[in-house]
Symmetry: C2
Subunit: 428 residues, 2 copies
């Protein structure tokens, strides 16, 4: 297949006519499909329903340390559930805190605490730095950006490559500007492009000079165990250990949750950090809660037992997800490869496929899909302020639809990418 940029004007016009006809046919199909969010499918959720049975009116509700999970107590989480997250994140129990069902809530809360009170030992509250900024690797997770936007940070995008954020840029900015207070990271199978940070990237993040003494790496390890191909599992370095080795253990807060392990709406979330930061976090958290839902922690502890239990479960989930990812990738390979109008990375895990179309075409493609009944994540959502400067990135979330729905949706998507690409080339 020739690259479209090498086609003659006449060839492009013929192509446009064909593609437009196919698109109009699509519109008449009356599709109605929402692929805007990374939602697990019912089949995936069913795989964890055994959770509901391990705590019932006949079982005990005592945690490993004898705490009645139905009552107040065990403020930092029950030890049996800590086992899972400690293994997952590579931290000690005293470096871990288990919370409610949402790690996003804890990130919002943690940044709020940094703004209002400061959580690193000796840190000033960030409200005293009205011109504060945050580094945002792009493309990235819209809900991270929404948090820093809400807290009035100026967000500075930093391009991602196949090793993580461009560390030359990160290092230069962090070293030069004390109002840059931190960075968002999804270090493994990142949202949306599936990139896993290289060891070099992790080490540089841990070791880099920061002009702000209270710089904080927000390490959202959302896809810590979300390998699509367990035999090719990607590993990341333990950033807390790297920060300790670099002499700045207080530089990072790690987050994880079971939202995409057990149940998206009813899982368990946790954060981890140095014991010094943990001490401050505990002193602040004790103001706002007596304890989080320990019965749900107990369900997860009894059902998964440990990291091996989680990994075994993740293989079942991967078996559900793999054919969906493959459906999307097959369509991209069949319909878009070699035409010079789109690029993508084949992710080895996570929840998304990130598609880059020709500059200036993403919004148009998403709108065309919507007009034909398929709602994708808004174009621009993967950039701070919803503004993709090249208007080219589209996040595809293959988990929720059935394979047959997905096949139609991605056929439509490829068609729109082609049509928008051809129209753009014709305009030039």
């Amino acid at each position: 297949m020739a690259r479209y940029s090498e086609l003659s004007r006449q060839e492009l016009e013929t192509l446009r006519t064909e593609l437009t006809e196919r698109y109009e046919q699509f519109k008449r199909r009356g599709l109605k499909l929402d692929m805007s969010r990374g939602k697990p499918s019912s089949d995936q959720l069913d795989l964890a329903n055994g959770l509901f049975d391990v705590v019932n009116s006949k079982t005990s509700c005592l945690s490993a340390d004898g705490t009645d999970c139905r009552n107040y107590g065990d403020f930092t989480g029950i030890p049996d559930c800590k086992v899972i997250f400690c293994e997952m994140l590579g931290v000690a129990p005293e470096e871990l805190f288990i919370c409610g069902n949402s790690s996003l809530t804890m990130m919002y809360d943690a940044i709020g605490k940094m703004v209002l009170h400061g959580v690193r030992p000796g840190a000033e509250p960030w409200w005293k730095t009205p011109e504060r900024k945050f580094l945002c690797p792009v493309p990235g997770y819209d809900r991270h950006f929404a948090i820093t936007q809400r807290y009035n940070f100026e967000m500075i995008p930093v391009e991602m490559d196949e090793n993580g954020p461009d560390m030359d840029v990160v290092e230069r900015l962090a070293a030069s500007d004390p109002t840059i207070k931190g960075i968002w990271c999804v270090p493994k199978y990142s949202n949306p492009n599936g990139v896993t940070y290289s060891d070099e990237t992790v080490r540089r993040l841990a070791r880099m000079k920061t002009a702000a003494s209270d710089f904080m790496i927000m390490w959202d390890n959302a896809y810590a165990v979300h390998d699509l191909h367990p035999e090719e599992r990607q590993q990341i370095l333990n950033i807390l250990e790297e920060c300790k080795a670099a002499g700045d253990p207080d530089r990072v807060m790690m987050f994880a949750s079971t939202s995409k392990i057990s149940h998206a709406g009813a899982g368990v979330a946790a954060f981890a950090c140095s014991t010094a930061v943990m001490e401050n976090m505990k002193n602040l958290l004790t103001i706002q809660t007596i304890s989080f839902d320990k019965v749900n922690m107990l369900r997860h502890a009894r059902y998964f037992k440990n990291l091996d239990g989680v990994l075994a479960h993740m293989e079942k989930l991967a078996a559900e997800l793999r054919p969906k990812f493959q459906t999307v990738l097959d369509a991209f390979n069949n319909e878009l490869a070699g035409k010079g109008i789109a690029e993508w990375i084949e992710p080895k895990g996570g929840y998304f496929i990130s598609l880059n179309v020709l500059d200036g075409c993403a919004k148009k493609v998403v709108q065309m899909c919507k007009d034909a009944g398929v709602v994708l994540t808004s174009a621009g959502a993967t950039y701070p302020y919803g503004k993709d400067p090249r208007d080219r990135n589209i996040r595809v979330a293959p988990s929720y639809p059935t394979i047959s729905e997905l096949r139609q949706a991605v056929e439509l998507l490829c068609l729109c990418v082609e049509l928008a690409g051809v129209e753009k080339l014709l305009e030039q």
Copy 2:
């Protein structure tokens, strides 16, 4: 029994010798009992264990509107669970938001949102008022005071009487000082003295002139259905309705939870407010979470069904609690009544009995109890900054111990109250 203040010095000295001897005997018993918090007993918790069985791997997980509770969605809570809280608080579904397991967390979060962003329509964020203040009816709930202290409010105590906070004082302060931003209220069976706000009090709170246009009543209806004597159930006026009638619907946020209905560590919490405030709260909450734990909402919805279901359950809990409250009150009546050294109110519901001892004696009594193995809530905890200006209030939490433990604990408490009282009279 003569009032101790009328006894001769010699009589008091004889009494002191007797009481000291009894106290030393108590110390030798080696009691070990923590009555510091209002924790439900295991027997109470057992009564709600049916919750665990209404969602299991064989049941559906769909809410009344067809949402899969295991997945993302139904951001404001599932409609079947809203039924319960809407009936309990007397609000419409669009005035209600169901959250995680802790109403305290939501209060902390709501005040945080008022400080950082403002939640009343048009309100300026309170960080712009560095000298901000909050009204704190006393005695009150230590965790409320901890929140406003954490957010740097100057806390102004307002004395409670049998109708609620002294409304003459509240009205005068609220009308005169625009830096007074709100008031904490536990309107029914208040923590700790069990007072239920009179209709007059509720109406005056709704109607009073406030110098701050963004004044907020934090209405923690923690004991909305916690009647010890269902046949003498106390009712409070619906403050949201009163605020609407008074033309200021945005003046109040109501909070409730099932922490002391179902399970203290694994219940469901909710807040309610005008639709205008709700709109702002939702816009802020959507930054921090995709949805709260809906499976737990579903458990509560299926188990209790509606307010009648909750009330029937509360009668069972009351049957557990009544003899415990009675044990404490019997001891007070038998050991302390008529001696002029202590006062208390017999609460008709809630979780606490508030005991006022002679001025300057509360800390001493609590310390003496502790030295003999019974930990009570710290003296002063029921006042802002932990400072009871008269050092006389002690909060008794009868729910957790067994009756036999409670009998010993309260015998010790009465003994310490007498001994401290006698010693005080001897000092004069």
